[in-house]
Amino acid sequence: MAVTQTTVDTAAAMVTEAVPLADWLLVAPVLLTMAGGATAIIFRKKSFVQPWIAIATISLVILSNIGLLNHVLTNGVVTMVMGSWLPPFGIAFTADPLGALLALTASIATLCVAIFAINSIAENERRYGFYPFLLMLLCGVSGSFLTGDVFNLYVWFEVLLISSFGMQILGNEKIQIDGAVKYAVLNLIATTLLLTTTGLLYGLVGTLNMADIAGKIKALDSSGPVLAIAALYFLAFAMKAAAFPVNFWLPASYHTPRLVVAAIFAGLLTKVGVYALLRVMVLLMPEGRDWLASLIGLVAIATMLTGSLGALAQTDIRRLMGYLVIAGIGAMLAGIAVGNEVAISGAIFYAMHSVLIMTALYLLVAFMFQMSGTFSLRDIGGLYIRTPLGAAIGLVLLLAVAGLPPFTGFWAKLLLVAGALEADRGWVAAGVLVSGLLTTIAIGRLWIFAFWRGGNEHTMDGIQALPIAGSSDASEISWSIWLPLLALTALIVLIGVMPEALMSISDNGARTLLDPTEYIRSVFGGIR
């Protein structure tokens, strides 16, 4: 039987003109990391090549992300659809200033970790796939930041989750397996809850494209189902972000993996949860955010206080850092709870700051361990005399995480407090400030004990104690440890001294989130 030739007008269903070259930047981070990860696996037996493959790949990703951010800032929100199917049918990748900024920050943090890991991940652990996992983690994180489709968001969450499981148990120690059980089970439940809610949302509006959802939710007759879905999304993402009271998996697991692994986890993973909250609560369901605002505010304050009080109560530096991650999550949630332009801008700025600072702090812990051979606040000491440069880096990073000027954390908290006062939510502003004070006490103690005190607990200040067994001299610290630490510190100081450029990006991101017109226009073009 002869096939009858029918003329089909593909323009009705597909993008017919070629994609502009600059729009390819949108998928470049995902494609590059996947290709890099696959290449790194091929060199499993020659694992000394792997770091260089990873560093080259991530450097390309950074370049492409700089290009993307520039593209977004000059031309507005950019969209690319998979398979050229017109939205809402093709899976859309949509980059707004928020997504592009976080994707760039995440790739910078990953590069620092990749360099740090050259000498701190043992040969056999490298062979078990540290670098492929790292690249796939960045792939999942970049995908989450750039996708414009809620189901696709779930898929990227799973990509980053399975890579993080592989990294979590690298080393195969008892304590890691114990931490992995709690980390893996609770994160999988959170992701499954995300999938459940996405299914319900699909049943309600019949679409998965974010721009389409944002438009269709406004047209719904009754707001009841939307509010329920917003509440479920809040629970799912709060669990991913480790907000109180679903935060307990974080201090139970983040001190167990290798410290470079913990650095990338603390830098990226919880921030993906906060990013998804911003995306879903502010862009898709502003109605749900307004309804939940007081609850989010309470959760934010409880999270900040849990984090900063928890940090005060720790003896183990690694666990102290885990609680500082939680305190930061609370601050970002405070921005979402307030929800005006200034506060959302503050949350975006804080997310960017948190990616850099938490990565840097865990790397600092690894450095401190190498210098002193202990994680205990009781035993550590004498680091100032051994390494004045290290002490300076430590002071800058610790002051930055507490939100003291002139570093990045200060500007983020300034925006948050200004936004809260503008919206007449003084209690949220008070929460941010009290948590900042408690964090300052916690990090002040850490710096004094570790750097200022001459040796372990019973030593006087500034007196050199006997060298601690298993510790190394400052001159033995390799360049692969100094370079990422110095680079991150320099970045934090630089942004802290000149915050205007980044503040204008975060303001821009907040405006695009609060008024979805530009986002929707970018996805649907002239169609509607």
Partner: protein
């Protein structure tokens, strides 16, 4: 039909949450397996259940002439099945290794990462 499925999904969710609240790791893993299937059914039902009408567009037409089954939830469920299957495989190995290393499958006795007796942080400066 949707109502019946809603009740079934509710029962599956209830069962899985009951198992997830257990102290035994094996029960939690079974709970996770059931949870994954409950969600798959939920997505399937959310796409509306239509029997026996394949989603095929007739020739010379741009859209189906009658209501057909929704193919998208099937694609979503397929993706979710693959993901939940691979996660379950990882979890089974993790559970087995946990039992080997820690010698217990009781979550309350897994205190290696967070030991019961920990030293207090130093007081004062």
């Amino acid at each position: 039909m949707e109502t019946l499925f809603a009740v079934l999904i509710g029962i599956l969710f209830a069962g899985s949450i009951y198992l997830l609240l257990s102290r035994k790791l094996v029960r939690i893993l079974i709970g996770i397996a059931i949870l994954g299937n409950a969600v798959n059914l939920l997505i399937f039902t959310a796409g509306r259940l239509t029997r026996d009408v394949p989603p095929i567009i007739p020739e010379n037409s741009y859209f189906p002439l009658e209501a057909t089954a929704n193919p998208l939830p099937q694609a979503l469920v397929l993706t979710a099945i693959v993901i939940s299957f691979s996660f379950l495989a990882f979890f089974l190995v993790l559970g087995y290794r946990t039992y080997q290393e820690l010698g217990t499958d009781d979550l309350l006795e897994m205190r290696v990462a967070e030991p019961k007796e920990h030293s207090e942080p130093p007081q004062g400066y």
